[in-house]
Amino acid sequence: MANKKESTLRCVLVLSVIAVVCGVLLAVLNPLLYVAPSAEDISNYFDLPVENPGEWKVVDLNSEHAGKTTDKSGAAVSLVAQMQAGEETYYGLLITTKASGNLSECKFVMFFTKSDNKLVDAKMTVDGSSGGKYTYESAAAASENVKKFEEYYVVINSATQFDTDYSIPKVGATLTLTAVDNAFKKAAYYYYNVIMGGGAQ
């Protein structure tokens, strides 16, 4: 049975040679093609229509408040960047929400003006719903009226949540809507506690 072609040593040798060659090939290719998530995300998602926009600079994440998608809040701040345009500084928050059931991870990007803590724009950039485009439209509609967020920013005084309670509009796509809702709550929470420095805890 152990003829030359099948001897243990030869088999293990051939296997490890192939494995090492594959490993090396990938090890060499990977750093070249590696795209740092933040750089890629910024180029894809962070575009804010404002006159003489500066360059988005990544601000390091305060991991204590950023949270993870798996924790109770169901959303996490995955990237924070800052941009100087003229005299106004803008903050960009990239929020990733939890995947549940058929809805995979969604990504939202929200821009605030530092001077008056006003939410300038909120967009759903990665639509995780597998139900095709129709869930996106209903979610976008929902995020439109949730975007009355500006009134909320004024009332962000409580450390954690919005002050006024509101219910999610019943527009089908409940999974997507909860994701939108979680995203806005996490953004408010992070902005209030880290950027506004009101972090009581």
């Binding site: 072609k5 099948e6 030869r10 088999c11 051939v14 296997l15 192939i18 494995a19 594959c22 090939l25 990938l26 290719l29 990977n30 093609l33 590696y34 795209v35 890629e40 894809n44 995979s104 990665v126 597998s130 139900g131 095709g132 485009k133 129709y134």
Partner: protein, 213 residues
């Protein structure tokens, strides 16, 4: 050499179409055919991986001992899939996210390992390369057609371009995928059955004529 290529081409796309005749690689077919664009992207990725792995495997076929055959083949296939994943992440992130979890699953796509074992490990390099290309194209053709079918009915659009507002949600769901796949296989067997019966009749008549002549 010329008819060998034609023969492999016919095999890959028509006679032995991996998705419709051998019913291999069903997992990505069902999951990704929500849009024709996905079909094209997936098809290209599979064709690339299939071609490269067929070439490498058939060039190494005498070196790899038969007992560790499967792990070795899978290593080679996995390397190419990772390379595709890296290139896609860097140069075409939108397609990468669209394919999502199904990109790594090309590795266990039954077509690739199936062809590697059935064809590449027994035939010379050039034939394996052509076989890889045509099998990949056959797969791509099938899933793009299915993708278009489901996109037109399910989302009222084709290649992302909105056609009309009439939508049947059924086709975007999982069960719609199975339904479409069943119809496509039935149509394929029907027509190929028709074709082979006609060709069988033709050969019979030809034999009779020779006998009389």
């Amino acid at each position: 050499m010329k008819n060998k290529v034609k023969d492999l081409a016919l095999d890959g796309v028509l006679r032995q179409n991996p998705t419709l005749k051998l019913v291999l690689g069903t997992c990505p077919t069902l999951a990704l055919t929500t849009a024709a664009m996905n079909g094209v992207g997936m098809g290209l990725a599979v064709t690339f991986v299939l071609m490269c792995s067929n070439v490498i495997i058939s060039s190494l076929r005498n070196i790899i001992p038969s007992r560790v055959r499967i792990p070795a083949y899978i290593l080679i296939i996995a390397t190419f899939v990772t390379i595709v994943r890296m290139f896609l992440n860097k140069f075409a992130p939108t397609i990468a996210t669209a394919m999502g979890p199904y990109l790594p699953l090309i590795v266990v796509n039954c077509i690739i390992l199936g062809r590697a074992e059935a064809f590449a490990s027994k035939n010379p390099v050039l034939d394996s390369m052509f076989d890889g290309i045509f099998m990949g194209l056959g797969f791509m053709l099938a899933i793009t057609l299915m993708g278009a079918f489901r996109e037109i009915l399910g989302a009222g659009a084709i290649f992302g371009v909105k056609l009309w507002d009439f939508k049947i949600e059924f086709f975007t769901h999982a069960s719609g995928a199975l339904f479409t796949y069943a119809i496509f296989i039935a149509l394929f067997t029907y027509f190929s059955g028709l074709y082979s019966k006609k060709s069988k009749q033709k050969t019979l008549q030809k034999d009779k004529k020779e006998v009389e002549a």
